[in-house]
Amino acid sequence: MAATWRLIYNPDADIADIPAVPAALAAGRRAGRFLPARFNHPDTIVIQEIRGKGILAGADVNVDAREAAKNGISIAAAPSAAGRRAPRPAGTLRLEDITARAPAACTAAACDPDDPAVILYTSGTTGMPKGVMLSHRNFHAQCSGIVARVFPMRPDDRLTGVLPLYHVYALANGLVASVYFGAALCLIPQYSPALLLDTIAATRSTILFAIPAMYMNLLTLARVRRTGIPHTLRLCVSGGAPLPRTVLAEFENVFHARIAEGYGLTETTSAVCLNGSGECCTPGSIGPAAPGVEMKIVDDNGCALPDGRTGEIVIRSAVVTRGYWNNPQETAAVLRDGWLHTGDIGFRDRDGCFFITDRKKDLIIRGGFNISPREVEELLATHAAVQEAAVIGVTDKRGEETVKAFVVLKPGASVGGKTLIEYCSMHLAPYKVPKMIEFRDALPRSAAGKILKKELRAGYVDMRLMRQGETAPEGGNG
């Protein structure tokens, strides 16, 4: 016999009806169990469409009610996932349930210092993310060797944790270091400039690790607000990408804080260099190697180059990874004779400060000439209408590599591609001048603020798409 289902069609719902109707059905079913059979409710299908716009948000989602109202959006609370009486997605466990039943006492297992404690996947310039193994020794060396000496923390420090903890910068210098030194970590789950500024003020934070875009946004917001700017920060570190000097100077002035610029990789458990602020600062540099870190510049054969000569930056230190998980090939390619080959191109000056001039794999070669995308990007950024630019090599009709620029304009600014090309022609050798300019609202960035150039390239495969019949990518080699 065919089963009978009830259909409730509600085309005039409001956003609160979306969870309320099924919750009412579930409540009815529960009550029905204690009532005579005629009160039993059938299995039910509900089809609902809301009028206008709505947001259904869990208790921890930060929705700006004023902006929502301005945009004609109503807000309703998503059903709580907490508590034993809440529906639970099929086939899953709830962390709160399994931990509530578990005892609190647990002594840390003995570990070999070289055992991996963490595997962090890095995007790289091409291909699938690789898993960088970081050991207990790596983290300990970062805390006791680098943080302790370059930006020491104290138990009375409060760090603002705005960068995602899945990134090495926040994980090693934020979470693990704050636990090591007994400092407090103020967690921000969802970044917005206002929330960051308010958190620094409310928690009287003393340390901030952030990326250039966040410093820029904080500064913009501080200019608007003018009052209530916190002056508690004693140490700020910017990393991920270079911070424009003008922003740095104004930020230090407005926030009464110093910003040091850090340099590090996932493969080095975060920071290995710090360009101090004030008199210790060498503009444009990433600073000298931190204590306990050996850094040098080598040529393509791995031979050390004298100061002033450009080559690849290589690093040897207890913070350097033992390699990539399940990937001996990639490991052998970057770790040679105990030195990590960073792929960053630069030089060292006479004072021992390092400068990065490019990425090894990011070079464009046209007609045998090497073109540094960074050089073209920096020139474009000096144009009054340009906020930022990213330059890549693309293959033209003749199969030759040519320069293409992606440009984001400053708010309200307007300029044509032709004008920008003319501007470049005035300042660059002809082979370096972009042949193509594409305007974008924003450049694709990683969580650490790095521009994801691979996403700008033609033929870029969006890994978020799923097609029928497509097999999942292969697992590791092991």
Partner: protein
């Protein structure tokens, strides 16, 4: 040379020396080092009870919330390997990381249940999906979204898998009937067209009931206005949401929720050999509905 402490031992040492000192500050609350140590211990013991051992990899897909820290240090206490990764990763990226690392479990936000369920069949080594947090977020818009929800007796289908398969097939077929020719259902996850998500299906269990929450996109959302209310850095906007498409974008024709309802019920009747009878809330349900709507946040 002094012995090198493990990350788990580092927490124990700080918790011993500074037990009452604040370790974490989150949402106006402070969590002391003693509390952090206890929560990490509970998490370690809970994971151990699930079979997680020293050296095992466990993925963490969480934003900066205390549960990230509890899970991270819980794993460190066990000598297990934490695999934290970008919360904006989607489908194949997550599949790659889980397979490559050989993760036995993943701890993620409740709102990611759909995403993880969908790839679970491609990650045979993943034994446990552990969810936390209240960060569900859904956008609804007149003409653009239609919600299909079901409340049914657990005994109606053989298993959760069977419910997923049945409802997924019905939604995909209904969309095909509406002209989305390449609509297909990825088991336990989303209905897709052109690689993008056009509908999602979430199945929950509650006492002896299955609760289905499906969402289908009939037209494109005015995403900009939603992102003014839920602030997201502009460069990350297209990474926050999965790539989404809609019936109108795929077919060029506007489909109403009424037309969708008819296509859905027709397929439902046909595929499940069911009678579908229009109805409304009964007296007890209406009473419950009013009570629910009166709760804070209910309206």
């Amino acid at each position: 040379m002094a012995e090198i402490p493990s990350l788990g031992a580092m927490l124990e040492e700080t918790a011993r020396k500074l037990s009452r000192k604040e370790a974490l500050i989150f949402d106006g609350h402070t969590i002391s080092y003693r509390e952090l140590e206890e929560q990490a211990g509970r998490t370690a013991n809970a994971l151990a009870a699930l079979g997680i051992q020293k050296g095992d990899r466990v993925a963490i897909m969480l934003p900066n919330i205390p549960e990230f820290v509890y899970t991270f240090y819980g794993l460190q206490k066990l000598g297990a390997v934490a695999v934290p990764f970008n919360t904006m990763y989607k489908g194949r990226e997550i599949t790659h990381i889980l397979n490559d690392s050989g993760a036995k479990a993943i701890v993620a936000l409740t709102g990611c249940a759909n995403l993880i369920n969908e790839i679970k069949t491609d990650v045979p080594g993943l034994e446990h999906v552990i969810l936390t947090g209240q960060r569900t977020l859904a956008f609804a818009q007149e003409g653009a979204t239609v919600f299909v929800q079901m409340v049914l007796d657990e005994g109606r289908f053989k298993s959760a898998d069977a419910v997923f398969s049945a409802i997924g097939a019905v939604v995909a077929a209904a969309l095909k009937n509406l002209g989305v020719e390449d609509a297909w259902y990825k088991h336990q996850g989303a209905v897709r067209s052109g690689g993008k998500k056009i509908g999602s299906i979430l199945l929950s269990t509650f006492e002896n009931l299955f609760i289905v929450n499906a969402l289908v996109f009939l037209d494109s959302l005015d995403a900009d206005s939603f992102f003014r209310a839920v602030w997201v850095p502009p460069e990350l906007k297209d990474k926050v949401l999965e790539p989404v498409t809609s019936v109108r974008e795929q077919t060029g024709t506007v489909v109403t929720s009424e037309a969708f309802r008819d296509a859905f019920t027709e397929e439902f009747r046909r595929q499940l050999d069911a009678d579908v009878v229009p109805g409304s809330l009964g007296a007890i349900e209406r009473f419950a509905y009013r009570k629910i709507r009166k709760r804070p946040g209910g309206k």
